[in-house]
Symmetry: C2
Subunit: 369 residues, 2 copies
Amino acid sequence: MYAESPFNTQCDAEKDALKSSNITFVSVSDMLALIKQYGVEKLIQGLVTTLEADFKRWLEFDKSPRFAAHSSEGVIELMPVADHQQFSFKYVNGHPKNTQIGLQTVTAFGVLSDVASGYPLMLCEMTILTALRTAATSAMMAKYLAPKNSKTLAMIGCGAQSEFQILAFKAVLGIEHVRLYDIEPNASEKCVNNLKNYVQTNALTLEICSSAEEVINGADIITTCTADKRNATILTNDMVKNSVHINAIGGDCPGKTELDSALLDRAQVFVEYEPQTRIEGDIQQLPSDSKVTEMYKVILGEEAGRTNDTQLTIFDGVGFALEDYSALRFIFELVQQNKNTQRIELLASPKDPRNLFGLTQMQQAVSQQ
Amino acid sequence: MYAESPFNTQCDAEKDALKSSNITFVSVSDMLALIKQYGVEKLIQGLVTTLEADFKRWLEFDKSPRFAAHSSEGVIELMPVADHQQFSFKYVNGHPKNTQIGLQTVTAFGVLSDVASGYPLMLCEMTILTALRTAATSAMMAKYLAPKNSKTLAMIGCGAQSEFQILAFKAVLGIEHVRLYDIEPNASEKCVNNLKNYVQTNALTLEICSSAEEVINGADIITTCTADKRNATILTNDMVKNSVHINAIGGDCPGKTELDSALLDRAQVFVEYEPQTRIEGDIQQLPSDSKVTEMYKVILGEEAGRTNDTQLTIFDGVGFALEDYSALRFIFELVQQNKNTQRIELLASPKDPRNLFGLTQMQQAVSQQ
């Protein structure tokens, strides 16, 4: 089932993980080491392969809406999903004012578990992994939706996600030219600076623009990824020509949208999981029976994606738990090949499972390994 | 608000935890070291104080049913709860066949988070902590429900929870005599063996009995904590006299009960959170409008617990997320006093929160501390 992953191994990673009764831990440093080892682009390519395989198995998954605990400052969410083999959940927060005190708006971690035993297999940082999987998801969807031979990407919003998006479109779709716009010029400059090696090696051209109108000029693909937490209109209907794919990922919670509703009406709209996108996506502006297509049907070939070069397509992406599952599964397979992978002692493993108390009576609280 | 905890400190633990952007980790060994340092009884006393304080704040909590992912082998659950300051969730599985392959039926871990920033503060093992909090909850409820000057406990079911229950009733209610019964004699023997130090020092007398009828003879409090996963009748109506408190904690999921419904009809029944207990507790056998009392009302003095010595009371305990929150809060306050508390690098902390990509471009993936 997992044979499509370029990183797949034949070792029975799960059995090994269960034997020790303690779990694999992928820290922030471990994730950065993986990025150093493979590079952002190769990891995103691997994620795209895994995502595609899992979206093809869409109907095998037990899907549920995310659990959200709201407060006046933000939201804490748990995003669970499971198939018959593995369960995963992601913990993720969203606190817009965090940047004022030097913290991130969004942080995340996730756990991958074995369904047969209920035991967790891996705890993994997901602040960075979510950035990778979000970019990989955008690029994977664009494989089915973007005009053929797309070469130019317009990037509207140059925040934490922007470089990952650009490299995903480069690695997966062969994008060569990127036009950038952010309401804060230093955000665009940060993005260009972070990608300067790609410019120096002629792998990419990057051009900073001064308005949304200017940035989309000549673009085959437009990514909107802005942080404004309200119903904004980053792209109006008359600004956008046909023959374009819009990757709209910044409208991702109730009250936060980016696109003119007339633009949504005019386009063919594609979503991850319709019940969630109706609440969180740009289509929250539309009547609940507006025509949308769930992407797994396109990936399975049951519904059409882009059929000709003149179509206007929109991927209204909000981020779905299955994408986190795919990302965790991908990383778990990857780190099992590494002998130095950390483990943390999260699970008690008394010799006699009924004698938990016996553990507390040991003379010394030694590691159980 | 937290002043009642005997372990309370004035240090601003949360602020410290957030500053490093990485989180406190309490491993299995760390939990065992806390038990070694304080002893099971003192930890349970501390937990009872914390539980009581939090049950008094019942209406401040955002309560929701647990999320459960069922499979043919068992269930994986996420149990979230929050007040305006802290959010917690517990991950817990239930897989009865696990013991056949040397794994535990139930394992658990939990996370405590700061609501204002959404950042996790602590990851904590909860296989052992759940055993402590379950025992502490039983004893805390019995403070309000057991006959005055209860000295004799009958323990029916001598599995993983039994020793913790016995020590909780000793520490909190002054129980001196314990009568034990398990359908498997070696389970009772394991329990007696684990508690032999208490017998040698005359702190407890322990007596193994050969039937449920025999074990409840002369008991002031009867704890039922059996593992049989079906609708069993461990105690029939005619077996049990008045003037007793039944701490029924083994009937804790749909299709798993321990008490004769006529016994429930005859007694005053107390529960944690009625919507959950209706589904999971022994009262699943009763009509949905049967009279039960939520314990927070008793603890607040709004409803009566035990009013006289001749009453028959039943605590139909199933385990509620608030108890895990209390346990995590208690442990978090405790470990903040310890300079050697482990931290794990679960959260990315770029200097500029918008420049997550910058982290991936560092020449070396070094620890961020």
